[in-house]
Amino acid sequence: MVTKKCVAMLLAGGQGSRLGVLTKNTAKPAVPFGGKYRIIDFPLSNCTNSGIDTIGVLTQYKPLKLNSYIGIGQPWDLDRLNGGVSILPPYMKQSAGEWYSGTANAIYQNIEFIDTYKPEYVLILSGDQIYKMDYSEMLEFHEEKKADVTIAILEVPWEDASRFGIMNTDDENQIYEFVEKPKKPISNKASMGIYIFKWKKLRKYLIEDQNTSTSTNDFGKDIIPKMLKDGEHMFAFPFKGYWRDVGTIQSLWEANMDLLEEAPELDLYDHGWRIYSRNPVEPPHFIALGANVRRCIITEGGIIYGDVYHSVLFSGVTIGRGSKIHNSILMPNVKVGENTVIENAIIAENTVIGDNCYIGYKARTEEDNKQDVKESEITVIGENLVLPSGFKLDKGIMIDADNFRAYQAVV
């Protein structure tokens, strides 16, 4: 076995319950983003572009779509003779099987996988963030500081700080204080959930942690505080640039809308740092006579007869004549009939919406438009639904196949 300097472990098992119907049948990392991507494309592409070619993807919740999406990793150039991408679900052991009970436990259960590559370092990543980052710079920093662990940090607005793991550092970026989700934040340096550990050190702490019955087996809550208490060499790697945790409907919607800016902070056009994805086999999209497309992104396979403004359209989306799509995200293969209005909505994959529908009804007044769209105003429709013609859905409602009939009756 070729030894690898650094192995990446991508935590992709979370349920992502705050995304509601979008993650009802899909793991969060497989949620579509930005017209042709899925969230996991970002960490995977970052790894490839940073020269990390050995990645374990830890799956647990509804992994079917994620597994088939990753496949053998060819779209990210991760189909390698040595290393490449491996999907690591929980497995049976001699006595019993065991689910991943926490982020640290998931890595603990895969110590053998990491050991086979004899890495010096292990990079821990999350599968629910949108950002571009050169992990090789972080690794260099980690080596330079001779750190036991390096945590990537971002300066967040003070009012958001209590949602993150917050730390204080000295002039050398050494961490001397760490609090997970503090009520009263001591600083605004937030952990991005991206860690590089010396593997030997992490291995020791994982085993210790596993043997501590009071532990929740979580990196932020258990491993990092314990290492700090033990006086390990811990550093913070300051990251600058676009970074979004897209764990909520609001943040997912906003991060998509960010791409519609004239010059988005997240530059996807950089040919030196491409974001790879599994491309659908579709022809270029077609904009018909009489259609109107402004301030939007549309990808291959689309057929557009109506008006699309300030929206993100994924592959194979069709919009009928006279329909108006505004401030919305239409995921792969959504079909919209004629004279339908969709405002401030997220429509999941393969859903069909009939003629003369109104999604996001009573959406926004002139007065509302002066303010940002709030989560309570975003309408979300689950996947594989067929909404009959004339269907009206109020703003801020979330429906899927199980409950949509109830709403049809109300309106």
């Binding site: 930005g34 004239e262 904009i287 259609a291 402004r294």
Partner: protein, 373 residues
């Protein structure tokens, strides 16, 4: 159709395609916004279940090889079979320059003989269509044909248009009794699609026979000469067909893709059309973009106005630019307030601010690769 191999000949003449084939063969010509002409021929074979495909190259094949790579995008990176790119070579009995299509097959006879399949599908590379060979193969077997020629009947076409093609005449039993190659006064409206099905052993025999007599023309020396001796049948295809052999036909057939019936027949009918993936960002439109009746590929940024256009991947149309009835290939940039009508811009062209280029529908302006205007 695992018992069938495919052979694609890409050495067609490209004189009438002017500047856009200066540095590439017809097979490598960009078509339909994100494809090369060869993608259709290859996808037809893949969608028929053919997994051993030999591709014979002759003219300027670098661009073609770059596009095809290992054949992975067409699922042709196989352990058994897969894609074989067969460039010309020099040896004691081979000059490297083929004297005709038959010479090309003869030069690659060792590959053909070694292939374990029973049947062979021969195809040129300038016919763009979306079909599978399954039905034609069934027809070939059921009717005990020696050779089956796939053809398209074009009832509403002018004589002038027909005289670009090789035409066949068939009787009620579909037996071909006459073949005319680019006739001045066409006697038939059945266009040979330059796709043939035959037994591989027969193919090998016919090629050897011709070469022994110094004959190198597939139509004249095999089909016309053997039309009585062999059972040569025609099999009709009814879908959309585009023969790319001149700037005129190239322009016309790209523009025909705005008709959604043609669009469906060419891109989805028998199966998907595979091509090289470029990992481009989805196309983006600005606040003032006006877009009508156009095909737009990923990676484009359109801020100006486009109408009846095919935009390949990574094209930029700046604010105030107006582009009509045009084909714009990859990575071309059209700057502010430029005005273009009836033009074909090759890859990586830059049209500077305010410049105007107006061609005629019957004779579009063609700008070569990487030109700056």
């Amino acid at each position: 159709m695992r018992d069938t191999m495919g052979i694609i000949y890409t050495g067609e003449s490209n004189i009438s395609l002017r500047e856009i084939t200066l540095r590439r063969s017809v097979a490598a010509l960009p078509f339909g916004g994100r494809y090369r002409v060869i993608d259709f021929t290859l996808s037809n074979m893949i969608n028929s279940g053919i997994i051993n495909v030999g591709l014979i190259t002759q003219n300027n094949y670098h661009s073609l090889m770059d596009h095809l790579d290992s054949g992975k995008q067409w699922d042709l990176d196989r352990k058994s079979g897969g894609l074989f790119i067969l460039p010309p070579y020099v040896s004691s009995d081979n000059t490297g320059w083929y004297r005709g299509e038959i010479d090309a097959y003869h030069s690659n006879m060792s590959y053909i003989r070694r292939s374990p399949q029973k049947y062979v599908v021969i195809s040129g590379s300038s016919m763009v269509c979306n079909l599978t060979y399954d039905d034609a193969m069934e027809f070939h077997k059921d009717n005990m044909a020696d050779i089956t020629v796939i053809y398209k009947q074009e009832k509403n076409t002018t004589k002038k248009e027909l005289s670009r093609h090789t035409l066949i005449r068939t009787d009620e039993q579909n037996r071909i009794w006459d073949i005319e190659v680019k006739p001045a006064t066409p006697m038939s409206d059945k266009i040979s699609m330059e796709m043939y099905i035959l037994d591989k052993k027969l193919f090998e025999y016919l090629i050897e026979e011709c070469v022994a007599r110094g004959q190198y023309d597939l139509n004249k020396d095999i089909f016309i000469k053997n039309k009585e001796k062999l059972r040569i049948l025609g099999y009709p295809y009814n879908g959309y067909l585009a023969k790319i052999d001149s700037i005129h036909s190239y322009f016309k057939h790209n523009m025909e893709l705005f008709d959604l019936d043609n669009h469906y027949e060419l891109f989805h009918h028998a199966g998907p059309v595979y091509t090289k993936v470029k990992d481009e960002v989805p196309a983006k439109y600005g606040d003032n973009s006006i877009v009508e009746n156009s095909l737009v590929a990923d990676g484009c940024i359109v801020e100006g106005s486009i109408e009846n256009c095919v935009l390949f991947r990574g094209v930029k149309v700046a604010k105030g630019a107006v582009v009509k009835n045009s084909i714009i290939m990859q990575e071309t940039e059209i700057q502010e307030k430029a005005v273009l009508e009836n033009v074909i811009l090759d890859k990586e062209v830059i049209i500077r601010k305010g410049k105007q280029l107006i061609g005629q529908e019957s004779y579009p302006v063609v700008i070569r690769k990487s030109a700056i205007i």
